[in-house]
C-alpha cells in the first residue's frame, strides 16, 4: 500500500492520519454474505491548526469516516494513527479516555444531540469531569463559562442554566462546540454541523469554526455535502465518492482546477444565485450503494471520460500538482512551469476545468 506523494509519512507533523481505512457493513441477516462497502482504503491526513473538509454526498462514506475516527465502531481493515499511536488498537479505559479527550465530536442534528432532560451545561460538565480531573468544582464552573463565552453564548452564566428546548438550533450547535472545547481538543470532528440550520445562521457557526482554529489552535475535520461552505472555511478539501477519496488538495486549487470528473460535476451542480446561467448536464444519476463491488472506478457509469481501464483497475490517488491528488486514470497532471508552479494552460486531452 503506497501512500500518495503528498501525504506526510507516519508520525511526522501529522496530527492524525489513516492508512487504508476500510469499513464494511453486513447486509441482511447473520448468514448473509453481502457486504456494503461504506469506506474503502482511505488515506487521510490532518495537520495541526488545519481545517480539512471532507466533502461528499449521501452514501459517499463521509459520515462513516467520522464515526470511525470517533471510535464509535472499529474499522474492518486499516489503521488510524493519532499523534503516532494506533487508535484502532486502543483498549484500556485510560487510553481510550485520552483519545476521546483530544478528539471530540460535534453532531449534525442539534435537536437530537442533547439529552432533553438535562440543562445544556450537562455535556460540558461531564466532559470536564471525565477529561480534566485536575479541576475542582469552582474551576469547572469557570471553564464552562469560558467555553460558552468563546462560542458566543452570552451571558454564559444564564445560558448554562437553560434547557435544550429553550434554545434555538443555532444556539444548540454552539453548545455542541462548547462541549468539544471543554476538553481542550486538538482535533474536532464536526459531522455536518450546519446542515440542519437555517442559511442565515450558518455563517455565524462557520465564522466561529474559523476562529476556533485561530484562537484555540484546534484542527477541525469538517464533514459536509455543501461544497460552498467547505470553500469558505477549509484549508484543504477531500472529495469522497462511493467510499473512496477521489480528490484532495488545498481548497483553492481543488475548486479552481478540479481534476476528477466527479469534483467537476459537483462544482457545476452547485446553484449560485449570483451566477447567470445554469450549466446543463445530462447527468441525472445518484451515488451508488456499493454492495460487493469489484475492481474498477466506482464513478465510471456516470463519467463522460470513462475508458476501458476504468472498469478493470481501481484508480489510486496520484499527484496532479503540489499537494493535489486525484484518483482518475484519465486526469492529467498539471504541467509545471520553470518555478515549479502549475502553468496557466491545461493539457489537451485532460478533463476541462469548469
Amino acid at each position: 500500500m503506497s501512500l500518495p506523494a503528498s501525504a506526510v509519512p507516519d508520525g511526522e507533523g501529522a496530527l492524525l492520519h489513516t492508512a487504508g481505512l476500510t469499513r464494511h457493513f453486513r447486509l441482511g441477516g447473520l448468514l448473509s454474505r453481502r457486504m456494503l462497502h461504506a469506506v474503502d482504503d482511505l488515506d487521510l491526513t490532518i495537520h495541526e491548526r488545519e481545517i480539512v473538509a471532507l466533502v461528499g454526498e449521501s452514501g459517499s462514506g463521509k459520515t462513516t469516516v467520522a464515526r470511525l475516527l470517533a471510535m464509535i465502531y472499529p474499522p474492518t481493515r486499516g489503521a488510524i494513527f493519532y499523534r503516532g499511536r494506533s487508535v484502532h488498537k486502543l483498549r484500556s479505559r485510560k487510553d481510550v479516555l485520552w483519545y476521546r479527550g483530544e478528539v471530540p465530536m460535534v453532531f449534525q442534528d442539534p435537536y437530537s444531540a442533547m439529552n432533553p432532560v438535562f440543562r445544556v451545561s450537562h455535556g460540558v460538565m461531564r466532559n470536564l469531569k471525565l477529561h480534566r480531573p485536575e479541576l475542582d468544582r469552582a474551576q469547572r464552573h469557570e471553564e464552562a463559562e469560558r467555553v460558552f463565552d468563546i462560542v458566543g453564548l452570552n451571558p454564559a452564566g444564564d445560558m448554562l442554566r437553560k434547557f435544550p428546548y429553550e434554545m434555538s438550533g443555532g444556539q444548540r450547535q454552539r453548545v455542541g462546540f462548547a462541549q468539544a472545547l471543554a476538553v481542550q481538543p486538538k482535533l474536532i470532528l464536526a459531522d455536518e454541523p450546519v446542515s440542519m440550520l437555517d442559511v442565515s445562521i450558518r455563517a455565524g457557526i462557520l465564522n466561529m469554526m474559523a476562529s476556533l482554529r485561530a484562537e484555540e489552535g484546534a484542527s477541525i475535520l469538517y464533514i459536509t455535502h455543501d461544497i460552498a461552505s467547505a470553500r469558505y472555511v477549509a484549508d484543504r478539501i477531500i472529495v469522497m465518492y462511493a467510499g473512496h477519496a477521489v480528490e484532495q488538495g488545498p481548497t483553492d486549487v481543488v475548486l479552481s482546477r478540479p481534476k476528477h470528473p466527479y469534483t467537476q460535476l459537483l462544482l457545476s451542480a452547485v446553484p449560485d444565485p449570483r451566477e447567470k446561467a445554469v450549466p446543463v448536464s445530462a447527468d441525472s444519476g445518484e451515488p451508488p450503494r456499493v454492495i460487493d463491488p469489484g475492481e474498477g472506478c466506482r464513478f465510471r457509469q456516470r463519467c463522460p471520460y470513462a475508458i476501458d481501464k476504468c472498469a478493470k483497475i481501481t484508480p489510486a490517488l496520484r499527484p496532479m500538482g503540489p499537494a493535489h491528488d486525484a484518483a482518475c486514470h484519465v486526469a492529467a497532471a498539471e504541467p509545471l512551469d520553470a518555478d515549479g508552479k502549475p502553468a496557466a494552460t491545461t493539457v489537451a486531452g485532460s478533463p476541462p476545468a469548469p
Binding site: S200, D226, A269
Partner: protein, 325 residues
C-alpha cells in the same frame, strides 16, 4: 392582463390552541398566472409551509384559516365543501410533498398508488390507468419497469420524481411543491429542477415552489416571494429580488450564502433568530435583527409598499409611496 389562475387575498392562518392563538400566516396576498413559476422562500418558522397547506386546503386542526380567500379559477376554495373540493383536487391543482418517504405508502407499489389516486379523482378503466401511469413515469425519466417497485426500492431522487409524476396524472394547471429537493444531494437536485422546468414548459402548468434555499429557485422561477414571521417581506420578479434586494432581510439572506465560484468574502449571516409568533415584536417584525432599523420601526407596522415592480414590507420605502401619491 389575463385573469390570474390563483389569487390569494389577505389570507391569515392561525393555530388555535387552548393556551394561545398563534398567527402563523398574516394577511398574505399573492397571484399566480397560468404557466408562472413562483418561488416562496423563507426560513424555518416563517409560515411558508402553513401557507402552502392553506392554499391547498390541507390544513388540519388546530390550524385554521381565520380570514381571506383563495380564489382558484374563479372559485374561493375556502368556501368549498370537501365534496366540491374533490372535483378540483388533483385535476386542476396537485401537491408534491416535502418528503416522498412520508407521502408515499411504503406498503404499496408505485402502480398501486397511482391507481388509487386516479380512482379517487375520476373514473378510468384499468387499461387507461396503466397507460397513463406509464406515461407520467416516462415524463419524469423513470423506466416503466419501476411501476411495480416499492418506494424503498427506489433512490431518493427517483422517489421525488415519482411524486411529481403522481402530481401530473391529470395534467393540472397548478402544481404546488413543498421543498421537494431538500432531501436530495446537489446533483440530483439540479437534475430534478431541470426536469420540473422542462415539464412546465411542455405542459404549461403553473408552479408554486416553497423552499428555504433561495439558490434552488434562482434560475427557475419567474417571481419570488420572501416570507418572514408569517408575512410577505418582499415579492417581485426573480431577477429584481436577486440583483437588487430591497428588504434588509432579503439582502441578509442573499449575503448569507457562501459562493463557490465568485470571490471569497466574509459572511455575516443575520444575527438573532426568528421571533416567537405567539408574541411577535411590535412594529416591524424584523426590526430586532435589522441592521438598517430606524426609530419608527419599533412602533409602526409597515405595509407593503410598491417600488417599481416589487412590493416590499419595509418602512425604508414608505416615503417613496407617499411621494408618489
Amino acid at each position: 392582463m389575463p385573469e390570474p389562475l390563483l389569487e390569494v387575498d389577505n389570507l391569515s392562518v392561525s393555530y388555535l390552541t387552548d393556551t394561545a392563538d398563534i398567527g402563523a400566516v398574516d394577511r398574505v396576498s399573492l397571484t399566480v398566472h397560468a404557466g408562472e413559476f413562483l418561488g416562496i422562500v423563507g426560513e424555518s418558522g416563517c409560515g411558508k409551509s402553513t401557507l402552502l397547506f392553506a392554499i391547498a386546503q390541507l390544513l388540519t386542526p388546530p390550524a385554521e384559516i381565520t380570514s381571506g380567500r383563495v380564489v382558484f379559477k374563479g372559485q374561493d376554495l375556502v368556501q368549498l365543501t370537501d365534496g366540491e373540493l374533490r372535483h378540483v383536487r388533483w385535476r386542476d391543482y396537485s401537491v408534491v410533498m416535502q418528503s416522498a418517504m412520508n407521502a408515499l405508502n411504503p406498503m404499496k407499489s408505485i402502480a398501486a398508488q397511482f391507481k388509487d389516486t386516479m380512482r379517487a379523482h375520476g373514473r378510468m378503466s384499468a387499461d387507461a390507468i396503466r397507460t397513463r401511469s406509464t406515461e407520467v413515469l416516462h415524463l419524469v425519466g423513470i423506466d416503466a419497469a419501476h411501476l411495480d417497485s416499492y418506494p424503498h426500492q427506489l433512490s431518493g431522487g427517483m422517489r421525488q420524481r415519482a411524486m411529481i409524476a403522481m402530481a401530473l396524472l391529470f395534467t393540472p394547471q397548478l402544481v404546488i411543491m413543498d421543498e421537494p429537493t431538500s432531501a436530495l444531494d446537489v446533483v440530483a437536485q439540479r437534475s430534478l429542477m431541470t426536469q420540473i422546468k422542462e415539464l412546465q414548459q411542455q405542459f404549461g402548468f403553473a408552479v408554486i415552489f416553497v423552499t428555504h434555499d433561495m439558490s434552488v429557485v434562482a434560475h427557475y422561477s419567474d417571481r419570488v416571494m420572501v416570507m418572514y414571521a408569517g408575512q410577505v417581506a418582499e415579492i417581485g420578479a426573480t431577477s429584481s429580488i436577486f440583483e437588487r434586494p430591497l428588504h434588509p432581510y432579503s439582502k441578509g439572506l442573499l449575503d448569507a450564502f457562501p459562493s463557490v465560484h465568485g470571490p471569497r468574502r466574509a459572511l455575516t449571516g443575520i444575527p438573532g433568530s426568528p421571533p416567537d409568533l405567539g408574541r411577535p415584536p411590535s412594529g416591524c417584525r424584523f426590526h430586532p435583527r435589522c441592521s438598517e432599523a430606524m426609530a419608527q420601526c419599533t412602533t409602526s407596522e409597515p405595509d407593503l409598499y410598491i417600488v417599481g415592480e416589487t412590493e416590499v414590507r419595509c418602512l425604508l420605502y414608505a416615503e417613496r409611496l407617499r411621494d408618489a401619491v
